[in-house]
């Protein structure tokens, strides 16, 4: 069969008006149903005809999936809320500016207007071998093309690789992990809530999926508890262009101080592994220590322990070290676009 790209093949389109309707559809159509949020990831796959589906469930008509609400002292964000709305929401900016900043640095203004928070955390890997449709481990094959002697893998993983060396490219994921966010997942007749850090899967658990979502399930909302409201936040995304770029490495931190010492901390990093990583060992090590350069340097060194660079991504090791150092040390906020 010859390969042709850039024409979306036909499929049946469903546009449910409520979550229950959507869950009924997903229940009935199971494996074959493709959930479409903002489309920024999906359209790539469908346009390229690399992944196909016969049924698309488009969520744009489901009002209850949109918007940001007060919830038990924190906030609940509908999964279909656009990244622009997340970045500009007064309550998020006031109490959880970490998330606003991360959302505001995703891709480009146009993509943020269309892309959703739920989509951003549920998106697939951007490994350019995998996205081109090469039959790799992640695509169900038995090779990683990005980890061969001739592979160009500048944007790939330095930590947690297991056959696949792709990274999770989400900018909001580390921020949500640092905020102890909870992911609300529903299926027909059932709901479960998982910690953000547990929402993401590495290749050691499941090499073909990025999240814990099972067929029939839908991420409906993301809850931000009050826990870290107003903490000292730091987010930074390093990328090649000032806009419209995935992270080469990103970092998110939330710190609570107690008289010059770090009382409690959350640090998460992205684009260094197949899932965003919460650096719990670093968090434990810096707790109780003075908030100074020495502690920051120690955190940076700890963060890169066990890092295994590939041929073209050795720079990610000092980059990760320096970003974690900054996340502890604090500093001027990064540019936004």
């Amino acid at each position: 069969m010859a390969i042709v790209h850039d024409v979306i093949p036909p499929f049946q389109l469903f546009q449910p008006a409520s979550v229950d309707e959507a869950l009924d559809l997903l229940d009935a159509r199971g494996q074959e149903a493709w959930v479409l949020a903002g489309g920024m990831d999906s359209f790539d796959w469908l346009k390229d005809r690399t992944k196909r589906t016969s049924v698309v469930v488009e969520l744009g008509q489901v009002a209850e999936l949109q918007g940001i609400r007060e919830n038990a002292g924190g906030l609940e964000i509908g999964a279909m809320t656009t990244l622009t709305d997340v970045a500009e929401h007064a309550g998020i900016r006031e109490r959880f500016s970490l998330l606003a900043e991360a959302a505001g640095l995703v891709a480009s203004p146009q993509i943020r207007n269309q892309g959703t928070l739920g989509g951003n955390v549920s998106q697939d890997a951007r490994c350019w071998y995998y996205r081109r449709g090469w039959h790799c481990y992640r695509a169900g094959g038995n090779i990683c093309y990005a980890d061969t002697p001739t592979a160009v893998n500048r944007e790939h993983a330095i930590l947690g690789a297991d056959r696949c060396v792709a990274v999770n490219p989400s900018d909001t994921a580390p921020a949500l992990i640092a905020l102890d966010a909870q992911m609300v997942i529903r299926r027909k007749g059932a709901e479960r809530v998982v910690q953000a850090t547990d929402y993401f899967r590495g290749p050691d658990i499941d090499i073909t999926r990025m999240t814990v979502l099972e067929p029939g399930e839908l991420l409906t909302a993301i809850r931000i508890p009050a826990t870290w409201a107003g903490a000292r936040f730091y987010f930074e995304k390093v990328r090649d262009r000032q806009v419209w770029d995935f992270p080469l490495v990103n970092v998110a931190s939330a710190l609570k101080a107690d008289g010059g010492r770090i009382a409690d901390a959350r640090i998460a990093v992205g684009a260094v592994a197949a899932r965003p990583l919460r650096l719990q060992a670093v968090e434990r090590a810096i707790a109780g220590r003075p908030m100074n350069d020495e502690t920051a340097a120690m955190a940076g060194e700890m963060a890169i322990q066990g890092a295994v660079p590939l041929r073209h991504n050795a720079y990610k090791v000092p980059l990760l070290r320096n970003l974690v150092r900054r996340a502890v040390r604090g500093g001027p906020p990064g540019a936004t676009t």
Partner: protein, 825 residues
């Protein structure tokens, strides 16, 4: 031209409103009754041979109307030049479809169906059996003693050895390999320099190095990049009454007709090209694209109009690529900064099709730009199994200047000379010489050069001294640096025709054969004619973008030649009209024609005056040369055909540009950049940028500024992030989407970049204007390169783009960590 009302003034071009409101129709916006859609089947492998094709399942699909194979293409036709000389068609040249693909992504066949979904499904239903053949995507690998060849015959273009006194044979593909000894230095990251294909020199190179206070030997790699035109190479074709109607973007409305006729073996009179708007060319579609013959042939086969919409991925293949160039420079400088000796070696990569001359041509520009007292240039162009190489803004000049500019900057730093002063010291002045001597021992020279004036102006606007004072200072993790760079490129041709008619309604009707690819020269150049004849712009109507509209022979809008060439042609046509108007007035009113003048829409003299409208009426009555029934003998036959069609409608101005020119036209740009680098991440951004052009008289300031800054951004992209990436083992591209190849966005450049021009008329052209499209490119690229080394020191980069990983790794290790020799990474 002094005291001008139009030339040098801003105005609203006739196409602007349509462009900004979306009403402008590009090729794929047209629809024709019963129109079919075409899709392409692309080669999945970098080199192979089609053993068999099974289209039976596709042909059985409802809605599939025609399938076109390579074997159905007309054989390539020879070219006959204006002088009657026949250039034999190259049998190994790129064609629209092929059964022996020489790059992954090359089109094998095409399907026309009732819609694109059906056409795509049909492509998927076709079975092609390929015999894989050896391939290579890295030019250095192809030069290795045991390196694969991209084609069965070899890895370079050459001519067979000819007996003395006989002309050389036609180009053929030959094998050229270097020895292991040639590659010895590559272990140290130095460019190997085996046998070149092209070599020239002037002056005493050895003496220059002997007398030098500083000698540098540097290797640098300039990455390739796709053109990323906004409008891909889509084309709509249909046949009516034996004529082919083609809607397609191009850089030349007029000269593309000949290409299409040659590709399809048609008479030129049977081709009508509609090309009012072209979404960018940058050199990649000088006279259209050979792939436009696919819908034309499918349309004939299916007896229906066929639209072939080219996708972004396909555009990345057939749109072509600017060649990457590996460079090595040995440069010797006197203590005062003067460049005494320059030894340049460049390796250009190419597809397995026609050679793009970037590597071979770069040395000339460098010799002009820095005026080395002695110079040698050696170059080789190597074929690989990658998409066609095509000219891209400042071809050859960009890469050579990017290879040399950082060396100039490094020398200035080591000699303790201010960077602006360093470029003033070595700047070309006036009729500056360039390149090697010809057979008569004469070196060529520029028509004029005011590089020092551009540097001085830029230095002031940019605030060089104040910014320089703060460069290198570290604030937190941030450090700033400033860079200046000079650049040059050819900027004008001669010998084209102007054609205009003043009609009895008093209006000036101008025929413009220029392609409308966004530079506005399609209209700008005709401001000259309106100015000279004295017609207000509101009374000027311009016909353009449709070859059934009787257009004159016109230059291709490539090589920054249009403003120069076509202001001369406009000047010639306007002068012809003015002379005829005076003759008509003198005949009607008495006295000699020389006593009359044309101004204010009247022709006035001793016997009174006539309006231009009255002159036009009289021209029709008088006939002959006045209304175009008799034409000059030296105009191009294309112009003659158009003029004949317009004859009898009014006073015709028609003439060929025969003005003298002493020297070759070059334009120059000085670019100034400030960057801020975060040394903890390697990330940097451009703080500010200023560019000043030296390209003679400015015809349309707003368009000029757009070119200076727009093309500077194209240059910046070469330093910032833009590149293509291949997996060499599979010979396949990994940068098929723009988020992967990373062209810069408008948010990657400062909002308040500034431009200016020295605006000194070129002495060798009547309007004084030269082109500006290309020299800004290298200025933008190199100003950033130099600003980075100003901020961080010399040991940071050995290839461009300079992305944050290379900066961070160099800072971590204290030496450049980039691999300067491997292509496509």
């Amino acid at each position: 031209m002094a005291d001008t009302k139009l030339v040098g003034q801003n105005y609203v071009t006739p196409d602007l409103l349509a462009k900004v409101t979306g009403r402008a129709k590009y090729a794929e916006d047209f629809r024709a009754e019963g129109m079919l859609f075409a899709k392409l089947l692309l080669s999945p492998i970098p080199h192979g041979r089609v053993r068999s094709v099974d289209t039976s399942a596709a042909e059985a699909m409802p809605g599939v109307r025609a399938i076109l194979r390579a074997s159905e293409l007309p054989a390539p036709a020879d070219t006959v030049t204006d002088l009657g000389e026949t250039i034999r068609a190259n049998p190994k040249a790129e064609r629209a479809l092929t059964d022996e693909p020489v790059y992954a992504g090359e089109a094998i066949l095409a399907v026309a169906a009732v819609d694109e979904e059906t056409a795509a499904a049909a492509i998927e239903a076709i079975r092609v059996d390929f015999e894989p053949l050896p391939f290579v995507v890295d030019p250095l690998t192809a030069l290795r003693p045991d390196g694969p060849n991209p084609r069965a015959e070899g890895n370079v273009w050459g001519r067979p050895a000819a007996a003395p006194g006989t002309p050389p044979g036609p180009l053929e593909i030959q094998e050229l390999k270097w020895s292991d000894a040639d590659f010895a230095e590559s272990e140290q990251g130095k460019l190997p320099m085996g046998k070149p294909q092209v070599e020239w020199s002037y002056g005493d190179l050895d003496a220059g190095f002997r007398n030098a206070a500083l000698v540098l030997d540097e290797t640098f790699y300039v990455s390739n990049n796709q053109h990323h035109v906004l409008e891909p190479r889509s084309a709509l074709a249909y046949w009516q009454n034996g004529k082919l109607y083609m809607h397609s973007g191009t850089q030349s409305a007029v000269q593309t007709v000949a290409s299409i006729a040659r590709w399809l073996r048609l008479d030129q009179k049977d081709v009508v090209l509609i090309t009012e708007y072209t979404g960018g060319g940058f050199g990649s579609r000088a006279t259209g694209s050979v792939q436009c013959m696919i819908p034309a042939l499918l349309s004939k086969k299916a007896n229906a109009p066929v639209l072939m919409r080219i996708t972004r991925e396909e555009e990345n293949y057939i749109g072509g690529i600017r060649p990457a160039v590996h460079g090595r420079v040995k440069a010797g400088f006197a203590k005062d900064g003067r460049l005494l000796a320059l030894d340049l070696y460049t390796i250009g990569e190419n597809s397995a099709y026609e050679a793009q001359g970037d590597a071979a041509s770069g040395g000339r520009f460098v010799s002009l730009l820095y005026q080395p007292e002695a110079m040698r240039s050696r170059a080789i162009t190597v074929l690989t199994n990658t998409p066609p190489r095509r000219a891209q803004s400042q071809p050859g000049g960009l890469q050579a200047i990017m290879i040399v500019e950082p060396v100039i900057a490094k020398a200035a730093r080591q000699l303790g000379i201010d960077q602006v002063e360093m470029r003033r010291i070595n700047a070309p002045v006036g009729k500056a010489k360039l390149g090697p001597a010809n057979a008569q021992g004469q070196r060529g020279y520029a028509t004029s050069a005011f590089v020092r004036e551009a540097l001085d102006r830029g230095k002031e606007i940019f605030g060089w001294d104040a910014r320089k004072a703060r460069s290198g200072q570290r604030v937190g993790s941030k450090v700033r640096g400033v860079g200046v760079a000079v650049s040059t490129f050819v900027a004008g041709s001669t010998g084209f025709d102007g054609l205009l008619v003043i009609k009895p309604d008093g209006k000036l009707y101008v025929q413009s054969g220029v392609g409308n690819l966004g530079t506005e020269s399609v209209f700008d150049v005709h401001r000259v004619a309106a100015e000279m004849i004295g017609v207000p712009w509101e009374k000027v109507a311009i016909a353009w973008g449709d070859t059934s509209q009787h257009l004159p022979w016109t230059c291709v809008s490539g090589g920054s030649q249009t403003t120069h060439a076509m202001t001369r042609a406009a000047h010639a046509a306007a002068s012809d009209a003015i002379a005829k108007a005076k003759e008509i007035a003198a005949r009607a009113l008495g006295g000699g024609p020389e006593a009359y003048r044309v101004a204010g829409e009247r022709v006035s003299g001793p016997g009174g005056s006539l309006t231009l409208a009255q002159v036009a009426e009289r021209a029709i009555q008088m006939g002959g040369k006045y209304d175009g029934h008799e034409l000059p003998e030296d105009i191009n036959k294309f112009t003659a055909t158009s003029a004949q069609a317009l004859a009898g409608q009014g006073l015709m101005g028609v003439a060929r540009d025969t003005y003298p020119r002493d020297g070759t036209s070059f334009s120059f740009v000085a670019g100034f950049a400030e960057v801020e680098v975060d040394v903890e991440t390697g990330q940097y951004h451009l703080v500010d940028y200023t560019a000043v052009g030296d390209s003679g008289t400015i015809v349309h300031p707003r368009a000029y500024g757009g070119q200076v800054l727009g093309r500077s951004i194209l240059g910046m992209s070469h330093t910032l992030a833009l590149k293509t990436v291949y997996d060499q083992h599979y010979g396949l591209s990994l940068t098929q989407r723009m988020y992967q190849s990373r062209p810069p966005t408008i948010l990657d450049v400062p909002r308040n970049m500034k431009w200016d021009a020295v605006n000194i008329p070129d002495p060798e052209t009547p309007v004084g204007a030269r082109g500006i499209g290309e020299p800004p490119v290298a200025a933008g690229a190199c100003a950033i390169l130099n600003a980075l080394s100003d901020a961080l020191g010399d040991d940071i980069y050995r290839r461009a783009p300079v992305t944050l990983d290379s900066i961070l790794m160099a800072l971590e290790h204290g030496r450049p960590m980039q691999d300067p020799l491997t292509a496509h990474i």
